[in-house]
Subunit: 91 residues, 2 copies
């Protein structure tokens, strides 16, 4: 977990997912959640393949979850991990 969040880009992705999706239900349509990887690629100025790699790392660390929904992929943060990290991220 620490390893996954030790990278600034991944920490940023996780924080944005955490705050943006706070309290949202998983089953909403993708348009409402607006978290496709390509947006992060633009925002972070990284290649799509690089962003994909970072998402994979976050997923393998158990920090986020992913689910294919049509041509996009949905993301949401792990509830336990979020609560455990909340104190840290808000300092």
């Amino acid at each position: 977990m620490f390893k996954a969040l030790s990278n600034p880009h991944r920490l940023r992705i996780f924080k944005e997912l955490s705050t943006r999706l706070a309290g949202q239900v998983i089953n909403e349509p993708p348009e409402a959640i607006q978290n496709c990887q390509c947006k992060f690629a633009e925002h972070l100025d990284l290649a799509p393949s690089t962003v994909s790699h970072h998402f994979k790392e976050l997923r393998q660390a158990g920090l986020i979850h992913m689910k294919r929904e049509g041509k996009n992929v949905l993301f949401w943060v792990d509830d336990k991990a979020t609560k455990a990290l909340q104190a840290l991220l808000t300092v």
Copy 2:
């Protein structure tokens, strides 16, 4: 902070310092606290210079503090950091 704890050896050092020194006063004699780097070097099977480097990283991340006390050096964990991380480390 995440970067500092992303290394298994550093995480172990920090955890041991946290648990071993929990509630101890800083001004006790070094013998009572028993946390010289050389013990960690033995324990982790690393060269003294490597251990020194890891302690430096933890210090620069604000996770621990150091103070020269005679020929040894005293270590103790940062109180804020400990409390913030406690929830995570005990899971």
